[in-house]
């Protein structure tokens, strides 16, 4: 038999207080937000995939021909009656410009990060931090415009030709990804514990030896993530690249010949096609390739992160 006090206590402990109700509300709201985001992401991937696959299902383009064909001209059909939708020039263009800009940007970014973090933390925080943040905030059309009016004429003057091409694109992208890679590299260096540096210095290592042998080694996973992040940004950048690369859907035969990237063809072409037509579907296929590549970049970043944690 329950006594009266037990009953009272049970009542007190089991009744739904205001705080408990709020708790349920809070969970519901955050779960809804999460589900909404997931739904949007799934919807985007699903939409791009369904549109991108249409080229191969309803227009019967061979996937292999699409990935390896060197001629891009969706408006005309070749001798066999097949449309010319070879995306290889754009894929090559995108990768080339991404890798080149990463190669150029990485040493500058890591050098800057080392200076900001190890050599002169005060000046680094006062000057370089705002500068990097400012650089991130400049719209890409401005970068493209500067590229068009400064980089392209300079390339033309030095290497001849039109000046449009992968080299100009690389120069513009280098400046664009530099702040991202720099600030992420700086974060990676910052996360190296202070006692690593102290241990090295106390053993009589110079500051440079400490940076080179201890800090950079320990920060390698973070630095790699920074570079891959920069590459992902370069890969996806459309407007600025489109303004300086020349937009000729040709295999690039040199760094200064007009060529194109996946994004530049998309931005140039998307307004000139009719929904559901082959021309439109082919562009969606390019978008699908872009999306898949971004996923691959994300995967790489995650893998590096996991490997870094294990150490």
């Amino acid at each position: 038999m329950k006594t009266k006090t037990t009953q009272q206590l049970e009542q007190q402990l089991t009744r739904h207080s205001k705080a408990a109700k709020l708790e349920i509300w809070g969970r519901t709201i955050s779960l809804t937000a999460l589900l909404l985001i997931v739904a949007v992401v799934v919807a985007i991937i699903g939409f791009v995939a369904s549109k991108g696959i249409a080229t191969f299902t309803s227009n019967h383009v061979n996937l292999w021909d699409f990935l390896t064909g060197k001629s891009w001209n969706p408006n005309i059909t070749d001798a066999n009656g097949k449309p010319e939708v070879g995306a290889l020039p754009m894929i090559v263009g995108s990768f080339l410009i991404t890798i080149l800009s990463a190669i150029v940007a990485t040493p500058f970014a890591i050098g800057t990060a080392v200076f900001m973090n190890e050599i002169s933390p005060n000046r680094g925080a006062k000057i370089l931090q705002p500068v990097t943040e400012l650089l991130v905030g400049i719209p890409s059309v401005v970068y493209g415009f500067i590229g068009l009016s400064v980089v392209v004429p300079t390339t033309r003057a030095i290497f001849g030709g039109s000046g449009f091409g992968i080299l100009s694109g690389t120069c513009v992208l280098f400046v664009m990804i530099l702040p991202t890679v720099t600030s992420m590299s700086a974060d990676a260096l910052k996360s190296v514990p202070r006692y690593y540096r102290e241990a090295s210095l106390a053993l009589g290592a110079t500051q440079w030896q400490t940076i080179y042998k201890v800090v950079l080694r320990a920060a390698t996973p973070g630095l790699m993530t920074a570079v891959v992040f920069g590459m992902a940004r370069a890969f996806g950048e459309a407007l600025a690249v489109q303004m300086v690369i020349g937009n000729a859907a040709l295999m690039p035969n040199s760094l200064v010949s007009p060529s194109s990237t996946l994004t530049s063809v998309l931005t140039t072409g998307i307004g000139n096609t009719v929904m559901g037509s082959l021309q439109n579907n082919a562009l969606w296929s390019l978008a699908l390739v872009l999306l898949l590549m971004s996923l691959v970049f994300n995967l790489i970043i995650r893998l590096i992160g996991r490997k870094g944690r294990l150490q």
């Binding site: 690593y196 102290e198 241990a199 210095l201 106390a202 009589g204 290592a205 042998k213 201890v214 150490q311």
Partner: protein, 274 residues
Amino acid sequence: MFINNDVTKGTVMQERHVVQPNDPGHPIILSTEDLHVFYGKKEALFEGDLQFGSNQITALIGPSGSGKSTYLRSLNRMNDRIATVTGKIMYRGVDINQPAIDVYEMRRRVGMVFQRPNPFAKSIYDNIAFALRLRGTTDKHELDEIVETSLKQAALWDQVKDDLNKSALALSGGQAQRLCIARAIAVKPDILLLDEPASALDPVSTGQLEDTLLDLKQHYTIIIVTHNMQQAARISEYTAFFNQGRVLEYDTTSQIFTNPQVQVTSDYVSGNFG
């Protein structure tokens, strides 16, 4: 709360009492003169001139924030870039607190082990060979030999001799700390500074570490900061008591613990502090 009257009975308490070591068998190897340490404008250490005899263990004790770690870190210039250190630090007759000193060369002679075991994310072998390789020792035979002697001196050899290529991060706390000691003595320093080396260790590891330090005394001069007064009493010949940025008392360890001359020291070592 009890008051240990035995200790204070019959002595006239002074404000400050410093007796520098004077043992012909243990000549002074390191001393500080008029040492002041500033963090920005804040003075963290203002009265702390000590002398250290060679091949002896000196313990620096005192409450948190009393300046003992600050003092210790100044001795091998680890406070460069962090704090301003004025005054002289005389090491075998040379002032090592002057700008002309090559701090990297100096730190090879005055090594340091920290509170938290901090092995690099490298193999045990590479941890110890780190400083030697930086100095251009590449001979495999020579490196092997130094790695072995250092690990033996730090009493770690028997436990890790088959795992030299395994990551140092897999070691237990006590082993990692002894690895750090092995790493510090691999460059054959003169003086070993230890900043609360046992505070992150369990009692068994602490006991082993103390035995190791007593062995190391034959080859090195040891200055150790510790919060553990039993530890100071067990292993050190001299003890300095720091409080609020000053050395209040410096004498032989037995004097400090059995017959302290300063009231605050007496309170601190008898557990009545504050």
